[in-house]
Symmetry: C2
Subunit: 204 residues, 2 copies
């Protein structure tokens, strides 16, 4: 089973996670750029592969497919240095990735969506305040966890770091200053020094 | 490594998921009931085990511990009938569990929190409207996926069903009617018929 095609978007942190891991692993696939704004079109294009019609969706050479960025990371990282094979440590990796979807992505990506992608920040002021409060709680949790370690789990770079890095490093686009999170900023630098690292946007 | 103690709350769907799987598996642990409302106290009690200070947290007989409900499900279900050992199908199980944290729990649990737990629905009317819209999208996705299957993945009851069941079956407490989701209601019945099923609240 070889991944051959990804339904992708350059501005999506969820898609970027998968692109970053694939770059580390030397996997290259055809990338189909999907508009994240046109929801109905997306349902038509992706619905049979992903009932939630979210991107990324990864297609394989046997016509099978897989949705949900963190599930894709977990699958592609099997038997690589980016995921321990110890079930207990692997559960901790997954734990951070569930935290990412529930506490970090849900707040930072949503605020970034309103502020930077849709440019409707003024209409969503109250909603933004709530997402900022909860997003800062998530960043505070991350900062605290990094107090005595270089990477999130088992002191090695893993898909947990890749997952949380994606939206954390663009948090300022959601109106989150990272000034009060020095350990998070150092960790961001550390991720960017990993072999095979690629930025979110393709270089021109 | 044997689970011995869980930091728990009867009203938390995230805790309930773990209690339900443990009941299926015949695992019993000491349950420490934690107030979900008193956040600061929770940080004091749980912070060293879970930097996000969320429940559930499961403690093992070697003093190790694990946070994040879906990560705990994944760990406890290893080598049981509640989780396939095929990596591709297992990634699909995880995919639904990430969907749960991002699209379902984040909306249904939050609405339920404001309406039923904190009883502050009137102050959060605009916020509720947004959570209801997104939560109904998640329920519509679930309904569509159940059109031609009995369980979420691989046509067998798994931790994906357990995970999504927890907040779906109490969605009405978050102001979500399930009237328009007949397949979801049938699936709820199906989950309740599984051997070892226990309800969310202990029977008096």
């Amino acid at each position: 089973m070889k991944p051959i095609r990804m339904y992708d978007s350059q501005i999506s942190g969820n898609c970027y996670k998968v692109r970053l891991l694939m770059s580390h692993l030397g996997i290259s696939v055809e990338r189909i750029e999907v508009s994240v704004a046109a929801r109905e079109k997306r349902r038509e294009l992706l619905g049979h592969m992903n009932p939630a019609a979210k991107i990324p969706v990864l297609e394989f050479d046997d016509d099978s497919f897989m949705a949900e960025s963190n599930a894709i990371l977990w699958f592609l990282a099997q038997n690589t240095i980016y995921l321990t094979d110890d079930p207990f440590q692997q559960a901790r990796v997954l734990g951070w990735m569930f935290f990412e979807q529930n506490n970090l992505e849900a707040n930072i990506a949503t605020a970034r969506w309103w502020l930077t992608v849709k440019n409707v920040g003024d209409d969503y002021r109250d909603h933004l305040a709530l997402r900022h409060e909860a997003g800062h709680q998530a960043l505070t949790t991350l900062e605290g966890h990094l107090a005595d370690r270089e990477f999130l789990v088992d002191n090695r770079y893993s898909i947990a770091d890749i997952s949380l890095y994606a939206y954390t490093h663009v948090a300022p686009e959601g109106g989150f200053s990272l000034a009060d999170y020095p350990l998070v900023r150092t960790w961001i630098d550390r991720v960017q020094q990993q072999p095979g690292y690629v930025p979110m946007f393709d270089e021109a």
